[in-house]
């Protein structure tokens, strides 16, 4: 998102980050959001494969890039994200550091 078109928005709290990830995942996996909790494992509970995770990453970067210029999820960090909680923690940390 070009800096000159970036608009300042209120920071997301942890719950909002979780809801964003949950809703994106539900859309990608064509499942009900109520089935996704912070403790859900991507592979074991949600059957999300590597392609689904990259869909999630790209969607988050697009969504959060509007709030934080240059927001990006590093590819090297992807393999450490095993659960929804891992993803929420990661994004919260990234937003806080940005």
């Amino acid at each position: 998102m070009p800096a000159e078109t970036h608009t300042e928005q209120a920071p997301l709290d942890r719950q909002q980050v979780f809801e964003l990830i949950r809703d994106q995942l539900a859309d990608i996996l064509e499942t009900d959001p109520s089935r996704i909790s912070e403790g859900s494992s991507f592979s074991e509970d949600l059957d999300a494969d590597s392609l689904a995770l990259i869909e999630l990453v790209e969607a988050l970067e697009e969504e959060l890039g509007e709030r934080t210029v240059g927001f990006r999820i590093d590819d090297e960090d992807l393999e450490d994200l095993r659960t929804v909680r891992d993803a929420v923690d990661y994004v919260v940390a990234k937003l806080g550091a940005g």
Binding site: D23, Q24, L25, D27, I28, L29, E30, T31, D32, R35, L46, D47, A48, D49, S50, L51, I54, E55, L56, V57, E58, A59, L60, E62, E63, D75
Partner: protein
């Protein structure tokens, strides 16, 4: 923007457009000029032939590598996702690759369709991540033709996109395969069969049995029951459904078998004077049949379930195959394949669970 959904895709951009919208049909087909064993020379030649025959094409790739493009439009792309690269990582890391740029042209309404003979997985990933999935589609699938001499081919789906499937996915493959058979081959009410190890509904693994029940229960397709592998050539059903692992194994087994038969025939023809004389009588009758079986003439495989037309050509595609693939891509835009797919899945959409 929801993950996987893009409102600016070819279908989204044409929301409300009637089937065969001429405005979209006049957009060029985006051709990955860098993908395939014979790229870029054979790709450019195939594009030139298609353009000479009235189909608008734009080449996507490194301009300096393309040579004489005979006046065809070129969209620069500095990177290439190689055949050996991980598809999803390739799309993610090479944002200026010819494949990604092709998919973006379709997404942004600058191209009507995309064609590539490059990395199949990366082609799928590019289409999925840039064009997005159609609403309600759990996973896109690959449809390929199964030859039926003297008539339109049958359709095998999924030919390799998804190694692990759920019954909900197979039901959607059936719906999309039927819509594709209608759009591509003009079949009015395609029959759909489920590939299994026996004709009886009780035969097959748990996935097949569960899918059989779902299709028999009414999934918006004309379900004709199970079919065994030995009955695929020719297939009585217009569409044959299976998971991507089985489909890919099946497809390659069929291709290998046909190639074996052809090679054996030519070996026999060359045996002695008598067989050579016989071949002169037989070949004029056999060659047209061989042409129907030749993958170069089928127009490629189709990715079903993304918000745009995406043709996947064989990696060894020559100019002839590319020319045919471009024509097929254009024809499917005119036939509003994407609209038909969206309608087919939407008709029975009950938010199928991914697990």
């Amino acid at each position: 923007m929801p993950g996987g959904r893009r409102s600016g895709g070819a279908h989204g951009a044409r929301s409300g457009a009637a089937p065969g919208d001429t405005a979209v049909a006049t957009l060029p087909v985006a051709l990955d000029a860098m993908g395939g064993d014979k790229a870029p020379a054979e790709i450019v030649e195939g594009a030139r032939r298609a353009a000479d025959e009235g189909v608008s094409v734009v080449l996507v790739g490194r301009p300096d590598d393309l040579g004489d493009t005979a006046g065809l439009g070129v969209v620069p792309a500095s990177e290439v996702i190689e055949m050996h690269e991980d598809p999803a990582q390739g799309v993610r890391r090479k944002k200026d690759s010819s494949l990604v740029r092709c998919a973006e042209l379709v997404r942004d309404g600058a191209a009507s369709a995309m064609v590539s003979a490059g990395n199949t997985g990366a082609t799928m990933a590019s289409a999925l991540l840039r064009m997005g999935r159609l609403p309600n589609v759990v996973r896109p699938c690959i449809a390929t033709p199964l030859p039926r001499l003297g008539r339109e081919p049958a359709v095998l789906v999924d030919a390799g996109a998804n190694a692990e499937c759920t019954s909900a996915m197979l039901v959607q493959f059936a719906q999309m395969g039927a819509a594709f058979a209608s759009a591509r081959y003009g079949v009015a009410d395609p029959s759909v069969a489920l590939l299994s190890i026996g004709e009886e509904p009780t035969k097959g693994n748990s996935l097949v049995k569960e899918t059989h029940a779902a299709l028999a229960d009414g999934a918006g397709v004309r379900f004709s029951g199970n079919v065994e592998g030995r009955d695929l050539l020719p297939s009585a059903a217009d569409v044959v459904v299976t998971d991507g692992f089985t489909g890919n194994v099946t497809l390659k087994a069929l291709e290998g078998s046909l190639r074996f038969i052809v090679e054996t025939l030519f070996t026999v023809f060359g045996t002695d004077e008598g067989t050579r004389a016989a071949s002169e009588v037989l070949l004029p009758h056999l060659l047209p049949i061989a042409a129907q079986l030749d993958p170069e003439n089928t127009g490629g495989a189709m990715l079903l379930g993304v918000d745009g037309v995406c043709v996947i050509s064989h990696g060894s595609s020559s100019a002839t195959a590319i020319r045919n693939a471009v024509h097929v891509a254009h024809e499917l835009v005119v036939a509003d394949l994407v609209g038909r797919l969206a309608a087919a899945v939407a008709r029975t959409a009950t938010a199928p669970a991914a697990v």
